[in-house]
Assembly symmetry: C2
Homo-oligomer: 550 residues x 2
Amino acid sequence: MRGLMMDTQLMISSLLRYAADYHGDREIVSRMIDGSIHRTNYRETHKRAQRLAHALERLGVKSGDRVATIAWNNHRHFETYFAVPGIGAVCHTINPRLFGEQIVYIANHAEDQFLFLDLTFVPLVESIAQELSTVKGYLLMCGADEMPETSLENVMCYEDLLAAESDHYDWPVFDENTASSLCYTSGTTGNPKGVLYSHRSTVLHTLCVMGADTIAIANRDTLLAIVPMFHANCWGTPYACAACGAKIVYPGPFMDGDKLHELIEAEGVTVALGVPTVWLGLINYMQANDKRIDTIERTVIGGTAIPASMLRTLEDDYGVQVFHAWGMTETSPLGTTGRLKAGEDALDTDTQTALKLKQGRGIYGVEMKIVDDDGKELPKDGVASGELMIRGPWIAKGYLKEEGGAVLDADGWFPTGDISTLDPEGRMQITDRAKDVIKSGGEWISSIELENTAMGHPGVAEAAVIGLPHPKWDERPLLIAVRSEGSEVTGEELTDFLARKVAKWWLPDDVVFADELPHTPTGKVLKTRLREIYANYTLPTARDQSAATG
Amino acid sequence: MRGLMMDTQLMISSLLRYAADYHGDREIVSRMIDGSIHRTNYRETHKRAQRLAHALERLGVKSGDRVATIAWNNHRHFETYFAVPGIGAVCHTINPRLFGEQIVYIANHAEDQFLFLDLTFVPLVESIAQELSTVKGYLLMCGADEMPETSLENVMCYEDLLAAESDHYDWPVFDENTASSLCYTSGTTGNPKGVLYSHRSTVLHTLCVMGADTIAIANRDTLLAIVPMFHANCWGTPYACAACGAKIVYPGPFMDGDKLHELIEAEGVTVALGVPTVWLGLINYMQANDKRIDTIERTVIGGTAIPASMLRTLEDDYGVQVFHAWGMTETSPLGTTGRLKAGEDALDTDTQTALKLKQGRGIYGVEMKIVDDDGKELPKDGVASGELMIRGPWIAKGYLKEEGGAVLDADGWFPTGDISTLDPEGRMQITDRAKDVIKSGGEWISSIELENTAMGHPGVAEAAVIGLPHPKWDERPLLIAVRSEGSEVTGEELTDFLARKVAKWWLPDDVVFADELPHTPTGKVLKTRLREIYANYTLPTARDQSAATG
């Protein structure tokens, strides 16, 4: 027997239409690449998204086509978040910090048809354009007067495209399981893999993000999105802000403390989301200049754990409530949130801090369990640790073009690669890193890829990369190499070699040489032993940082 | 192109499993029919729901079967909310305040297979049992020692049934569009009509109810459900409380001020939901006994509008934030919420009050428009009024067994039967029920506004306005008032009072006083009954008119 409720398809376009209809005056404020402040609102943005929808169709973009962006956080990027899926196409947000080669791989793998880009990235895209085998044209996110000289072919001006179209477009309604957006994750092994979101998963995730126990985005909020829009849907915030008419503040590329502080004060930001690294600069600026951020009520920290001292500074000195949230590109990304539970606000500060430093507690919609090496479920006792497995309507079931093969276990659980405990109160704590990954400023660096690249040098017999603590970036890579017989390769030479193959921010902060590496009985490098050996090693960059802040 | 996210079916059973797994210790506190307090928690409740699932299957209940409840708000009723849909059957909550023959009609129409009932309702059900043509057995919601003598056949004891079963049950996963629960709405004309919810509509509505801009139910909340569980899923609160692990307080049949006050204080209630009537008794009790309810942060008022004076008393004297919420059985029921928008908390109190007295503002998930008699959309200008039409994933598309025929218009909108305005800020205000509107000389008079204004007079406890035939004006209003205790207010005084607040041509042509007004089971004034009572009443102006023209 079927229920008799409306068969409404959950459509991304309905989020922006809601914002325009019920919160048309609420603002979207962006700092543009020239440093100027741009102001618009949901009413205008909905009109512009409708113009963009027409423009995309005029360009021949069809349902299912991938359209990529390489852009900062700003109002135009926000428009693509709605217009591209709105016509049934797929919005592919590309991380501009990737190495050119990786971008080429990703864009070709996704078969991107068009590429939106902020002017900052014109040189980057020029350098790889010849290798982009499917891109038919480039849409420069600027006005006609800002159009640069460029070697790119089939270049179009975003504002000209919009100006030529009607601001009324009837958003089509189609199957809610249709793909809506695409984001690649650079896993520990193999090629980057594409996570393909749907309208359904996006709208369900949006409802979750508005929940009072999660991020609780509400109409009265002014949200500062520090998290980039090329990271897992900007944590779902463009959609959630539209769905309640929250004001949005986009900092563009300007993440220095003074610029962020200026925006927070001028716009009355109430909630900020991002990795802890950015807070470091902001706190330093405020301390040095005796500034405050009294409008901010809460901050949601993700990507990596916040240091306890920073948490206490934010809460005690600046009155900003701090919550962890844990998630992955594959989880849309909300997986857990670190809000205190009923009664816990009566605990002493140290106990509260300890609770907050865990990754967070389970939320409705994401099932969690931990399993041992045989896939057997382990107790949720806060002691047993095993691989974290998750399941839910906004969790990936596989990757684009079946990259990585079958991902889920027999019961449909997604293996996160993180080793964690689950306590009886429902809190999850990651005890061990996903095996070989280094988290630098919230971004993943694949140690395996670095190792493989280093071993491509003729002077290197074997190489291993581990993450070492870093005050600013949380972790940075250390390369441990064994020279091949007769080789006299130096660390500097190795770094230069790597610099031609990987993104600059992936480069190891130091290179050390060893006579041999410890191995498991099956011949794999024993990372746990390496971490013990180098436990007291301080990266030169970390030393510099200490000196600077000391 | 389909997205690659998990095809997770939205299942009601997952809500209770979540509560047990992540908030197992959170309590469900019920006042039982003997006045005693019963305490349990989500961990135990999930176990008992699993026992009940086994028991239902042992009774032969199959997917799609309807299983009815006639019960108060308590933990056992809560268990049926999950166990019955959990096995794929349909939980049909019956309003015990209906007349016996209406219950017979509804139960037979629904083809209820089994009937759960609290002991209070044994005499009621005994009196109609012979006419219940499909009910195979009666499950008395009590322990073995409480089982009464009864003429009912096939009577079973709820606690005995549970005790005989295992507390582990694997909740099946099936199509989320499967029917989950059933609630009849008694229109003013025609037969009662069954609204058939689905697992999908219920889970989506649950996510909505947890939203920071709607009811914002959160883990730290203790919710007092004054709204009965036989009303539109208890406004979705059993599901939403489970989905965040909020503590629940069920008052059973005891709605007097002193009993409610005792529960609120003892359990630390933070949010209460219900019709305004109940607040009247509570406020009277608190005023007479110098009591307070300081734990309550907010109350959500639905079913009917709260009088301005009561709103101000709650906010000013007791520090309780008041929100309207509007909805219907057909809307799951959340349609709008009355939370202030960004910046409105800076308005002066009178302006805020006026905003709060509207039915509420649109929420994401429920589309609204108003149309004229020809179905043409009217402007959202706060002035034009027309029938409110709504659309969304938790709105009914029709009634069980096609009662009432095709309900939706050609574009899939549901006609609410309410006449309303929509303002540019997205707020909806009901100006009248389509059938309650008084048409005087071709102009509409809002009976609701007249009633609310009359109730602003201190000498009036309750007021209703109906239209009576008039030879000149077609219809003219009659005000029927109930004096407040000790009041000796006259009709003339009331008319003078109204004359200062409403247009002269809106003034009732006569005022009569009654000892009490007839009410629907949901506490609304029964206009149909009033029209019957005053069917032969002639307005003095109509008499004059007759005399003049006779």
